[in-house]
Symmetry: C2
Subunit: 271 residues, 2 copies
Amino acid sequence: MNFTEKLVNVSRQNNSLLCVGLDPDPALIPPGVDVVEFNRQIIEATSDLVCAYKPNFAFFESLGTDGMVTLERTLKHIPGHIPIIADAKRGDIGNTARKYASAIFDVLGCDAATVNPYLGHDSVEPFIDYAGKGVFLLCHTSNAGAADFQQLRCRPKGDRKTIPLFEIVAMKASEWNVRGNIGLVVGATQPEPLKRVRELCPDMPLLIPGIGSQGGDLTWAVKYGVDGNGQRAILNASRQVLYASKGKDFASAARNEAIKLRDDINLVLGV
Amino acid sequence: MNFTEKLVNVSRQNNSLLCVGLDPDPALIPPGVDVVEFNRQIIEATSDLVCAYKPNFAFFESLGTDGMVTLERTLKHIPGHIPIIADAKRGDIGNTARKYASAIFDVLGCDAATVNPYLGHDSVEPFIDYAGKGVFLLCHTSNAGAADFQQLRCRPKGDRKTIPLFEIVAMKASEWNVRGNIGLVVGATQPEPLKRVRELCPDMPLLIPGIGSQGGDLTWAVKYGVDGNGQRAILNASRQVLYASKGKDFASAARNEAIKLRDDINLVLGV
């Protein structure tokens, strides 16, 4: 079973397009609660409500040199049928990209990874060579800085008219998608780019961050994000779920927040 | 002492613009030699010949979840006066970028980092906020994939004419360089982009990979890479030095290769 099949299966089973981002921040976790135990309780409280989990590598790396051990111990608590999207945003030249892909897929056993496209095809290829894994290329991100380069109007080779860089990334992603395992990261904070990317790539899984604390409009994120079957949109919330309560009731508060988000998404979908 | 001062000091002391990349690959290290011990011997054999070391995080991450411990133990062997450039190519939205910066600068104590600019200013800012550290933005990389996006002709905002994306990155880097700690990564494999970037950013440190196994032309890399004082170019070789011999004489072979590269660079400079 490849990544997209695994994703759609869980999404149907849990009736959910919600992904919970695992961004463990010791400054926000209740005092005295260990990071792995915090993650374990978050997972236990939400695993029937999500279509995927998305560990954010930065938060684990900043814990110390044993951060990847903490991540590995966290991942063991995720039920095997739920896909794990490694949010690591790697991107390097071929022989180095192979090592990054191996670290994420072989060492940690994740089901998908986020990859930065700036270095071009040979930086992406070692990831897509893992045919059963998903590869989400950063396309139009949820932050203000998306305007700096991603929205620049560029001229595709052999063309006279200019289009935004993120659209060229989406078109290249389609061209490179020989194994059918490429997806795109498109933030929820601006509806128009999301709409445009879904038009360009009608069948690709889209990872859509920014619906929670970042303030993206859920209605448009869902409407524009899903494919023709109301699937293949992965709507991610991290802080809004993880830190719904800063007290000892964090797990039940996270569950309530995840239910609310899942139901809000389904309300838009009319399911 | 900030990163650039540290770099120029060592460069003068060792009369060298050579950076040795630390890309430990168990498949290429002599059998029975531990990775840290391999790195230690490489460092010991070259520390009077380099201006910096550049550990490539992918190679450490792919060793296993204790890869960062192996990196940390490696870094302890680098003499304190030699700058360490963390080649991690991170890039994420603000609150995540802060965690990546902390992992590299606070946890590991590196002197500089490579950062992918695709997510724009707020993804770079948490790195440059460490005023004493160096931040190398990927500009024009050494791989074939550089043509896919970096060389696309784009129209800067408010402008009518198009210029290559990597030039816009170089110009943005200048604009963002309020703390004077930004540098750029420009591959040695194509002389013209390097020449152009040096024209746009006459004073920035340039990290120039691709002179060894990747086949970049050393003469032009040096001529176009240095600033007006013949400094601030960091010419990186990894495999060519590390794996000069696959036998037990790897350290002395690495030393010989580093001497050759350093001297070849200095021959071009006429020093």
